[in-house]
């Protein structure tokens, strides 16, 4: 292993954070095994690794959420023991989580106040200032449970920035941002680093790491397997270090679009909560054998559109949604599923899967039909067999079919859910944020699966905030903005810039609107 290059050899500065021999074992798995890590002032340091490589555990150790079984932590050269997040924050460590740590029933301001000691009124003003400065519009009075995944992440980031941290940990922060918002976030991070703040940056987007980071530490199976200067590496070489092999490339064949499979016709839908977005005159057609993408900044009606399409919210006018030639607006989720629809929701735990239930029972969740169920009775042997097959086919890392869904990592659970829905042999598949927070290997596998489905004649609709992903797999792309959907354009006739501008333009209007109401 190479000696870590120092930003300035002459000064040989004291690392802001220095970990030595950090070991943390959970029952059945050693998450961190003798990890060494130095982060210097003003450095943007990437931590790379697949899901389950131990990145999140390492960050939890630094943030005082997990206590190491062995090893030492030095902060500015001093030996410290970080026992809780409050202490970590006092030291000057801020963290943006991959899985959000927000109280859903509280407002944005209340959530932030819990982490900071500040009066509400002043805090609200500061929240507006910071969120405006970093182009992350936020309404401090809004309750978190009404917000989409992307909006919740904004709260997390703004909460950290308000604390003027000296070490900022970001766990996959860009997966739900628009390209221009990513650029602005990077500018923010570079500015923070220039002021001397250290940044630990976890991401699966290798391009971003190469664009942003000064140094990278690679983890595999809980051990440090290498350190490098990401600017001197290629995306492929970084991926190789991380997964110990080459990434599969998606096979993208020419589309053979067939008959319309899912038709949305002038769908109007009032938001069911005061902070939701009403859908206005949304029309879209997805043909058999094509992948249509819907891009957009979260909170622009995606949640409502998905609920309407999945049947979780019934619609007055049955003709607003046509599924395989049948009016389906008034059908519930079970009836639509029986007609050939499959849906992969963005929330995996609690919606896509029941956390406490075994994987076998979670197969039953969306497949309560023969051969798994006969005359109303569950056929446990068949259910377990189906679960076993799904686990094997999608290389899900799990203790077995009896493992509860909550024991799986985010990426593995997502693979399981995708596999489960595909096992149902759907004719129309709707996927929301299919690879959000999933490691590169699993993400590539999921995308390839969607492409394969398309080639088998399935109509696929992907709603994602990850524009790169949409550009990679979709045949046509539409943008959702303030509850309106743009006309779907073939992918060849559009570009990342055009779509990005559409999305960012919308973000700017929302921001302006927020500023007016403020």
């Amino acid at each position: 292993m190479a000696q870590p290059p120092r930003p300035s050899e002459a000064a040989a500065p004291v690392p802001r954070l220095s970990l030595r021999g950090i070991t943390k074992a959970y029952p059945g798995v050693v998450a961190n095994d003798g990890v060494d890590l130095d982060v210097f002032p003003g450095e943007i340091h990437a931590v790379l690794g697949e899901n389950g490589a131990g990145k999140s555990t390492l960050m939890k150790v630094i943030y005082g959420l997990a206590w190491p079984d062995a090893g030492t932590i030095r902060w500015e050269g001093e030996l410290v023991e970080i026992t809780n997040p409050g202490q970590a924050r006092k030291l000057g460590i801020g963290m943006v989580f991959q899985h959000f740590s927000l109280f859903e029933t509280l407002t944005v301001a209340d959530n932030i106040r819990l982490a900071l000691d500040s009066r509400t009124r002043r805090l609200r003003r500061r929240i507006r200032e910071v969120s405006k400065r970093y182009a992350m519009p936020l309404d401090p009075a809004r309750r978190v449970h009404t917000m989409s995944v992307g909006e919740r992440q904004r709260v997390e980031i703004v909460r950290c920035l308000l604390q003027d941290p000296r070490l900022l940990i970001l766990d996959e922060p860009t997966s739900v941002l628009t390209p221009s918002a990513v650029e602005r976030l990077f500018d923010t991070l570079r500015g923070l680093a220039a002021q001397g703040c250290s940044i630990l940056y976890i991401s699966h987007k290798l391009d971003e790491i190469r664009a942003l980071c000064d140094r990278a530490t690679v983890l595999r199976n809980g051990k440090v397997t290498g350190q490098c200067d990401p600017r001197a590496e290629t995306t492929a070489s970084l991926a190789r270090m991380m997964i110990g092999g080459d990434l599969p490339r998606p096979v993208h064949r020419a589309p053979h679009a067939g008959a319309p499979a899912l038709v949305i016709d002038a769908l109007d839908l009032a938001a069911d909560d005061p902070f939701g977005t009403s859908l206005r005159d949304v029309s879209l057609t997805v043909h058999a054998g094509e992948i249509v993408g819907i891009a957009g900044v979260s909170g622009n009606g995606q949640k409502e559109l998905l609920a309407a399409l999945s049947g979780e919210r019934a619609i007055e006018r049955a003709q607003a949604i046509t599924l395989l030639g049948q009016a389906a607006g008034r059908l519930d989720a079970r009836a639509r599923r029986a007609r050939g629809l499959a849906f992969i929701p963005e929330d995996r735990l609690g919606r896509g899967a029941v956390p406490e239930m075994s994987l076998a029972d979670n197969v039953l969740l969306t497949t309560r039909t023969p051969p798994l169920v006969k005359r109303g009775f569950v056929r446990a042997v068949q259910v377990r067999e189906r679960a076993r097959r799904t686990i094997a086919q999608f290389a899900v890392k799990a203790a077995g079919v009896d493992a509860p869904a909550q024991s799986l990592s985010g990426g593995n659970l997502q693979k399981f859910i995708v596999g489960r829905e595909i096992e149902r042999a759907p004719r129309v598949l709707i996927a929301a944020q299919p690879t959000w927070g999933v490691d590169v290997g699993a993400a590539a596998q999921i995308r390839q699966t969607l492409l394969d489905l398309r080639d088998r004649g399935v109509a696929v609709l992907v709603i994602s905030e990850d524009l790169d992903e949409l550009l990679e797999i979709c045949d046509a792309l539409a943008v959702i903005a303030q509850g309106r959907l743009s006309k779907a354009k073939p992918i060849r006739e559009t570009s990342a810039e055009e779509i990005g501008q559409l999305m960012a333009g919308v973000a700017a209007t929302v921001e302006a609107a927020a500023a007016v109401t403020a």
Partner: protein, 358 residues
């Protein structure tokens, strides 16, 4: 050295089964201390409480007799509870069951209906009445989203007043010296005794049958599975297209039917007539039984026997030691308290880590 609670990677099955045992032992320990503090010999007191009531064949029959309504009601309630349908009004549904079943017995009178026709008819009438009473909160919930906890509880008092009116008024025994009670049922309306010279009757077998049916429903039937999903993760239930409306109806009706059966069992069993009060609070105690039994039919069967022992022990402690009857309530509360506390260890475990104190 630090000791802290660490989340288990998956809930411990062993801990889930050990929790009621640990809670029972801790309750006995508390009882030991309480009896000692009251100046009684704790060994004698615990003997009077837990051993003497079941030292005889008659005692064991009484134990099972009292366990029967608890088992029946708790099994029915647990079906709803698993789906987050909170029927608190089983006491009222029991009362309605007793009114319907007992009313039928009184209406038939000494007409020559054979037992094998009359008793099933009484149980059907009782279950139907219990379901009808439970249907009111179910309808209010599904139609107006009214909280079923409140509505079902309020209906308990309505039911109790209805029974009171009946036995004070139209159904009062004319030869009963003006006591508010109905005529005694005729022999053909009485449940057969299982063990000679005891009061244990056929309702106990019905209870076991209902437990077995519920077991099959919960473990094997897809609707039982769907209701479990609705209780654990409502958003997942909605995603899977599981109807909450149907769950509310099923959960409420299952509880109502079972409570109605229990009401008939009491009327046609140990009581043999209609009185202003048909139960010493079985409908409420069954809520505790349901949770002590982990909402699982098998666990409920065991928990109902335990709860029945607390009832008998309380009576025995009153008679033999002169302790107040509140001692039964004390034990119920202590048991529930320890049960909930010990539940933490299903999902968490203690872990010690060496390190400098901070």
């Amino acid at each position: 050295m630090r000791v802290y609670l660490e989340a288990r990677p998956s809930p411990s099955r062993l801990a889930a089964w050990m929790t009621p045992v640990v809670a029972a032992v801790a309750t006995i320990v508390v009882g030991f201390v309480v009896f000692g503090a009251l100046g009684k010999d704790p060994f004698a007191a615990l003997r009077a409480f837990f051993i003497e009531p079941i030292a005889t064949r008659y005692g064991i029959a009484e134990l099972l007799l009292k366990a029967t309504p608890l088992m029946l009601i708790a099994t029915g309630l647990a079906i709803g509870y698993r789906a987050n349908v909170w029927n608190i009004g089983a006491e009222g549904q029991l009362t309605l069951g007793a009114i319907a079943g007992g009313g039928l017995a009184l209406a038939v009178g000494d007409a020559p209906w054979p037992s094998f026709l009359l008793l099933p008819a009484m149980f059907v009438a009782g279950a139907a009445a219990g379901m009808a009473w439970a249907a009111i909160p179910a309808w209010l919930r599904t139609r107006f989203n009214a909280n079923e906890i409140l509505t079902s509880l309020m209906l308990v008092y309505v039911a109790s007043l209805l029974l009171s009116w009946l036995v004070h008024g139209p159904w009062r025994d004319p030869e009963g010296y003006n006591f508010p009670q109905s005529k005694m049922f005729d022999a053909n309306a009485m449940l057969p005794i299982l063990v000679p010279d005891t009061r244990l009757n056929a309702a106990f077998l019905l209870g076991l049958a209902i437990v077995a049916l519920a077991w099959i429903f919960v473990r094997r039937h897809v609707v039982g599975f769907e209701m479990r999903v609705a209780g654990l993760a409502p958003a997942a239930a909605n995603y899977a297209g599981i109807s909450m409306r149907r769950n509310v109806w099923l959960g409420m009706l299952a509880g109502g039917a079972c409570a109605g059966l229990a009401g008939v069992g009491e009327a046609a069993g140990p009581i043999g007539q209609l009185l202003p009060s048909m139960s010493p609070g079985y409908g409420f105690a069954a809520i505790i039984v349901a949770f002590v039994g982990r909402l699982h039919p098998g666990g409920i069967a065991l928990a109902s026997v335990l709860m029945s022992l607390l009832y008998l022990g309380g009576e025995s402690a009153q008679v033999n030691l002169g302790l107040p009857s509140a001692v039964t309530g004390l034990f119920e509360g202590t048991l529930l308290f320890f049960l909930l506390a010990a539940d933490v260890f299903v999902n968490y475990r203690l872990r010690a880590v060496a390190g400098a104190p901070t």
